[in-house]
């Protein structure tokens, strides 16, 4: 009798696991398909549309009538940067959210993105750095600010109200640094600066894209190898230690990886508003508790940036940078998250 019950439980458990696995597989597959579709769309459609066969021909080097320049030099870098920045922001954002066990603790709310942005602007305008150096400065400053925020809020593990509020304060300060540097810069076109500040993939070129790709491979890989430990860390430090996971080392690794991802993407595309914040919660809703949150969030980030950029370019009466679109979508979502968690009585 009890044997049978155990069997049934085991089978039920297996069913649930299988079901969950299937769901995460479907979600990831669907998101990948969406990314691919949006990628093709942004390569073929623009001011004028180019048929997909011509796009492919142009990509593989054959001279299609006038399509080569448009596809290879204008649209391809832009679409690639959109995907890479989206993946990086999504992955970096969800890493913070999972590690700190709080959907509000995303890098763009607690000041990590602001610090990367301020450092990048400072490096470009004042120190006249370019390329890799800018990204390195952004990463270092992102790590510094993360350390400062962690230290000031004396928080280990879950992020409380204090960490988030301190992060908001820090990002207000860093944003004013950015505003100051941009206002001071004599040769800097103000409208261009404004565009950069909200995040834009406009005018992307292949050399800008390569550092982001490299960062995604290195830091994304670091993050994915820590995924299991990160998962276990959610049970709390003591449980994690019992399961043989070193909590502090894992947190250090995850912080380094997430800051690296966000900083490289920021120095190439600007702090695209709210992508890091939105991707995790959206992915979590899609998965409904199944595994694979990191991959799903990264893909959601790519979808957001691609779709946001396409919307900003062609679907609105005026051309707008992607950050304005994601900002306009993200702010109501943040408000919704506040209201919803209040209703449920859950902690924010």
């Amino acid at each position: 009798m009890s044997m049978q019950a155990t069997d049934q439980t085991t089978q039920l458990r297996g069913d649930i696991r299988q079901h969950a696995n299937r769901r995460s597989f479907i979600v990831v597959a669907l998101l990948s398909a969406m990314v691919l579709a949006l990628f093709v769309l942004s390569l073929s459609c623009g001011r004028g549309c180019i048929a997909p066969p011509d796009v492919i021909a142009a990509l593989f080097g054959s001279e299609a009538s006038g399509a080569s320049f448009v596809v290879n030099d204008l649209r391809l870098p832009r679409a690639l940067l959109s995907i890479l920045a989206g993946l990086s922001f999504g992955l970096g954002g969800v890493a913070f959210q999972v590690m700190l066990r709080n959907p509000l603790a995303s890098p763009d709310i607690i000041g990590i993105s602001s610090s990367a942005g301020a450092a990048a602007v400072f490096a470009i305008v004042i120190l006249s750095f370019d390329g890799w150096l800018v990204s390195v400065v952004a990463v270092v400053s992102g790590l510094l600010v993360a350390t400062v925020i962690w230290g000031l809020s004396s928080s280990r593990g879950a992020a409380g109200a204090r960490l988030i509020l301190i992060g908001i304060g820090v990002s207000a300060m860093l944003d004013s640094v950015t505003a100051y540097v941009l206002l001071e810069a004599p040769a800097w076109d103000r409208a261009e600066a404004l565009r950069w500040l909200t995040g834009s993939v406009n005018g992307a070129q292949l050399p800008n894209v390569i550092p982001v790709l490299a960062a995604l491979v290195v830091f994304g890989g670091l993050l994915l190898t820590s995924a299991r430990d990160l998962d276990i860390l959610r049970l709390g430090d003591d449980a994690a230690r019992a399961l043989g996971v070193r909590a502090d080392a894992t947190r250090l690794r995850v912080t380094l990886a997430a800051v690296g991802l966000v900083a490289f993407a920021t120095s190439a595309a600007g702090p695209i508003a709210f992508v890091a914040f939105l991707s995790g919660p959206i992915a979590a809703r899609l998965l409904g508790g199944s595994r694979g949150i990191l991959a799903a969030a990264a893909l959601v980030g790519a979808v957001l940036v691609l779709a946001g950029d396409f919307t900003g370019q062609f679907l609105l009466p005026t051309r707008l940078p992607v950050g304005v679109v994601t900002g306009a979508v993200g702010a109501p979502f943040l408000l919704y998250l506040i209201v919803r968690t209040n209703r449920n009585g859950g902690t924010l």
Partner: protein, 333 residues
């Protein structure tokens, strides 16, 4: 008891004297430092020396710093009183951003000119944002906690600035002026734009001062305030209207300036205690002093250029915000 009172009075007068000193400093210091006798000449309307002419230019911006700083200081104190939230500030709660959004839309879409219209727009925007943020922030259990209000304010600010950029970007002709206005600057002040704001400041000031008693009672808790015979709802509405008029007007004149309304009331509480009848007027002086000093600092640091005052206040205010957060024992998120 009497000794304590004298002591406090002394400190209050010291504070007022500091404000006057700031005014003097703001007239004297800048890209060009002007000796005092030339300041006097400039104040009397003579502009025969370069120094006196510089003072004549600095007069309106000093006046604006005093007015806007005072307004933001009082508005911050009132908001902290109404929400019983030590982190309340017109900047953090998104009220200034709301005012800015309305003003920018007015400039860009409706070709509005005329100083008074800007002021009405600013007040309307501040009011809408305040009501919205408070409505969002006070849903659910625990009422309007600091975290919820701050987050709702942040989200509103971000949404407002996204819209501002969406409005401004296609219009290169106004982008430059709006961006420097958006950082918060008082450098371009002129008497003819400041004068129409006086009625607004006076009405806001009177409303706020009149609600000092209600704020005192509210500090004891809502039930107790009602028990003391205060009409809590009316008092709150009146105080909020005063604060909104003050910070809407200040924002319409000089762009969103953050953190003055946060820092000043806390400083004044340390000096003069928690009685809002003293705290509110003192916050006006404190705000005027802080904004005036920030403006002077901004002129000195980046010579011969100027640092917009909003940047300076953020630099002073954000560490203070963090300090307040750390000092607070965060009650349930």
């Amino acid at each position: 008891m009497k000794k304590v009172f004298q002591h406090k009075t002394f400190r209050i007068f010291g504070f007022v004297a500091l404000t006057l000193f700031t005014v003097g400093l703001s007239l004297a210091v800048g890209t060009r430092s002007v000796p005092w006798h030339e300041i006097w000449a400039g104040l009397n309307g003579r502009i025969d020396s370069i120094g006196a002419a510089a003072v004549a230019v600095r007069m309106p911006r000093t006046l604006l710093a005093v007015l806007a700083g005072g307004a933001l200081g009082i508005a911050g104190a009132v908001m902290q009183g109404i929400t019983r939230n030590p982190l309340a500030d017109p900047g953090i709660l998104g009220v200034n951003a709301g005012a800015a959004l309305f003003v920018v839309i007015g400039i860009a879409w409706f070709d509005i000119s005329g100083a008074t219209t800007f002021l009405w727009l600013g007040v309307a925007g501040a009011g809408s944002a305040a009501v919205f943020v408070y409505a969002i922030g006070s849903t659910g259990q625990g009422g309007a906690t600091p975290l919820k209000l701050t987050l709702a304010g942040t989200a509103t600010s971000i949404a407002a600035s996204a819209f501002i950029i969406a409005v401004v970007l296609p219009r290169n002709d106004i982008a430059g002026s709006i961006q420097s206005w958006q950082v918060g600057g008082i450098g371009g002040a002129r008497f003819d734009t400041i004068l129409p704001a006086f009625p607004f400041f006076i009405v806001g000031l009177l409303l706020s001062l009149a609600s000092a008693r209600v704020l005192n009672a509210l500090a004891l808790g809502e039930e107790l305030a009602a028990g003391l015979g205060q009409n809590v709802a009316t008092g709150r509405a009146m105080a909020a209207a005063g604060a909104i008029i003050l910070c809407g007007t200040a924002t319409a004149l000089c762009g969103p300036i953050g953190f003055v309304g946060l820092v000043v009331p806390h400083m004044c509480r340390m000096i003069a205690g928690i009685d809002y009848r003293i705290l509110l007027p003192l916050s006006a002086f404190g705000g005027a002093t802080l904004l005036g000093l920030a403006d002077v600092l901004g002129r000195i640091i980046a010579r011969p250029n100027e640092l917009d005052v909003g940047i300076v206040t953020a630099f002073v205010g954000a560490p203070f915000f963090i300090w307040t957060v750390r000092r607070q024992r965060m009650r349930g998120l």
